[in-house]
Symmetry: C2
Subunit: 304 residues, 2 copies
């Protein structure tokens, strides 16, 4: 790729990220009206956790996948808002003292530090519930049937057999060190489930053929692993002020990650390989899946 | 009502409660399969919190309202399972040390005592997500549109502008003591929202006319308040071994309730009056809403 092409490509990705992040912020702001009673504190905490922060990677994935099938951006953004609710919910709860006990997130004190633990538990709960209010509008096109299916898939991706199950595995001390298979399974649940849902949501909203859905699932699976390795690498060598959260925690807590298992250098090579494999799954779209390819490249070459 | 009638009535309610509780248990048991990895601990905790316990009042309300419109019990039980997931979720989180800090629930140690705090947070999260997996089956009759609407209503009833908001109000120390209006608003959010949803779900599944839905909403609103007063009375004068949770906590924690505001005797009279008013809303069903009337009477004459 020439330098000019690289700049244009980066600019497309950068523009799309900015656009989608702004739309998600606008929707959060519109929906989260602070009521004039003491329950208002809860909405303040939800706003604090959800507005003006984060890469909005999951909504971006919904939009990029949806674009392949000319899904109206309005539909994709709605699905993106829902998955971003679930993501923000999981960050608040994962940061709690009884969980990962983090005090910094997206460059700010975590919700339980800023608002107290009880409010943080409730803010996470409220965001999880909100995801399904966002998804399940019975009047929204293309059809309630599609939104129903998206909602049950998202519930499964978030729940005990998805993200929550992955977080459980991550918290439990195991009798013997996890091997690569166990770490991969953990990460498939903990971060892979929502990434997979996001890509699939774009395909479902666009009534993609089963073959195309399968290709996109292959892409999402490789991307999820690559993204996680990049996260593990950031934990080892990232800059806290850039990443916006406490780093060097995996080693402190004796957690097995791709980086502790493979070493930084091999992990980096593995991530690059996974991105190539992810992009290979996009061949059937004959060059129209440029944005998805760029997202995959970005996922392993980021500083936050 | 003659003694014989009273016994027959009680027997109907008792039979229905037993039947519905058994069906809910069967469904929880079937859905909550323990996976053969360390995330299995999470499912164990969810099973511990959800199977074989509770009055199943909310599923009973869905069924009783649905019966008025010949809604197949299978549909009502599905909606009932969903609201019971949300209810069990809220109990686990409300019991956490950072919230009400309770160690006894339904006669057993609370989830965080039995499984640890982190698992309790995740078990509550998993149950909330599960509610929407249960509700949003796109193949389930009568139509995805109805289930979509039920799901978004349940999300709102559970979230920041419903139950979670009510719990926030309950936790926040207020500058001045709450008056009757504030306590009523708090309880309408904290317990009224799910009770209201349950009754409305039966009506929506049965395609009830707007007039009938309005009547049932009136019933549910009075019932919710009566139920809460009965709960407050149990806190003051109940038997812990019967109720299955720690009592006398409202006064200890300086919480304003209907009983602290009115005194036990006036609160009891108020509850009785509310039940009468709830039952008045059932007149348009011309005697066919006997089960709903019995539930209302039971709600204020119970020992657990």
């Amino acid at each position: 790729m020439s330098n000019t092409e690289l700049i244009r490509t980066r600019s497309t990705l950068h523009d799309q990220m900015g656009l989608i992040a702004a739309e998600i912020d606008t929707l959060f702001d519109a929906v989260l009206v602070v009521p004039p009673d003491t329950s208002g504190r809860l909405i303040e905490a939800v706003r604090y956790a959800s507005i003006g922060a984060g890469k909005r990677l999951r909504p971006l994935l919904v939009c990029a996948a949806g674009d392949l099938f000319d899904v109206p951006r309005q539909w994709s953004i709605r699905a993106g808002l829902a998955v971003e609710c679930v993501h923000a919910h999981s960050l608040i709860h994962d940061d709690l003292p009884c969980m990962d006990d983090d005090d910094l997130r997206r460059g700010k004190p975590t919700v339980h530090v800023a608002f107290g633990e009880a409010t943080a538990v409730l803010a996470g709960d409220a965001l999880l519930a909100m995801a399904f209010d966002v998804l399940c509008d019975p009047e929204m096109p293309p059809s309630p049937k599609v939104w129903c299916e998206l909602a049950s898939d998202l519930a499964r991706a978030a729940g005990a057999y998805g993200m929550a199950g992955g977080q459980m595995m991550d918290l439990l001390p195991s009798d013997e060190p996890l091997d690569m298979d166990a770490v991969a399974r953990l990460q498939r649940l903990k971060t892979g489930a929502l990434i997979g849902w996001s890509v699939d949501a774009g395909a479902m909203l666009g009534a993609a053929s089963p073959e195309m859905r399968t290709s996109l699932r292959g892409y999402a699976q490789k991307l999820g692993l690559a993204f996680q390795i990049a996260d593990d690498l950031l934990d080892v060598s990232g800059d806290e002020s850039q990443v916006g959260k406490r780093l060097r925690k995996d080693r402190e807590q004796g957690k097995q990650t791709f980086v502790t298992l493979l070493g930084a250098e091999r992990a980096q090579r593995q991530a690059t390989l996974l991105v190539e494999q992810a992009i290979e799954h996009l061949y059937c779209f004959e060059g129209r899946a440029q944005l998805l390819a760029e997202i995959a490249a970005f996922a392993v070459n980021r500083d936050r």
